[in-house]
Amino acid sequence: MTNFAAGLVALLAAVAFESLAQLCLKLAATGAAPARQPVAAPARAWLALGLGAYGLEIALYTLALRWLDVSLAFPLSGLSFLGVAFLSKLLLGENLTGARWIGVALILTGTGCLTLPA
């Protein structure tokens, strides 16, 4: 595996943990159970889970930055916007309007442009 490929693998794993961490932190921040809280748990448990996911993301992202430019790695981490949008809709019951989906799509397209090679 080349250094570039290893960097991409580490980065995509970091993206998955970023999406999971965001979901847990939202559940920790709101305290009480949201409309569709996936699993009933106290806020501190969600915070601990979120921090654990962030810890794994830190390790993976640090490895990714070892092989990738920050101006490439950082925009690619934007894939977490899509993951978070789906998790927010499915698990938190948030109202994702058409404008919000368009915004996410534009951001994803923009991050795609940001990662194009010179």
Binding site: L25, T62, L65, S71, G78, N95, A99, T109, G110
Partner: protein, 136 residues
Amino acid sequence: MKPAPGRLPAALAAGLLLAIVLDTFVQLAWKRAASDLPDGPVALALATVARRPLFWAAMLAFAAQLWNWLRVLARADLSFAQPITALSYLSVLGLSALLLHEHVTWTRGVGAALVLAGVGFITRTPHRTGGADRSP
């Protein structure tokens, strides 16, 4: 009362701005700390990073970011707040060129404009799906 679209409470706007600033600092400090690592086992690389002051500065900023982010999420939908932090792409792009001498192409300029437009769409939606503001 249903939150009005396009009208951000001042505390939420300040929290989002702080999140972007801290995010930018963390990204750049992290990159600096993780650069020029010795070849060899992954554990050696991580141990080397952990001995660098800039890494711990990034971690301190990360902790501040976490505290700030929990306050933001208490005030807004996750699917509203998180995409807005994409604005840090613009600041990282600019500062990477200035401080790390990374190349900025015209396609990255277009990308930055699209990100800005996307954030514009997001901010036109209500910042909260419903229910009471749980901000501390």
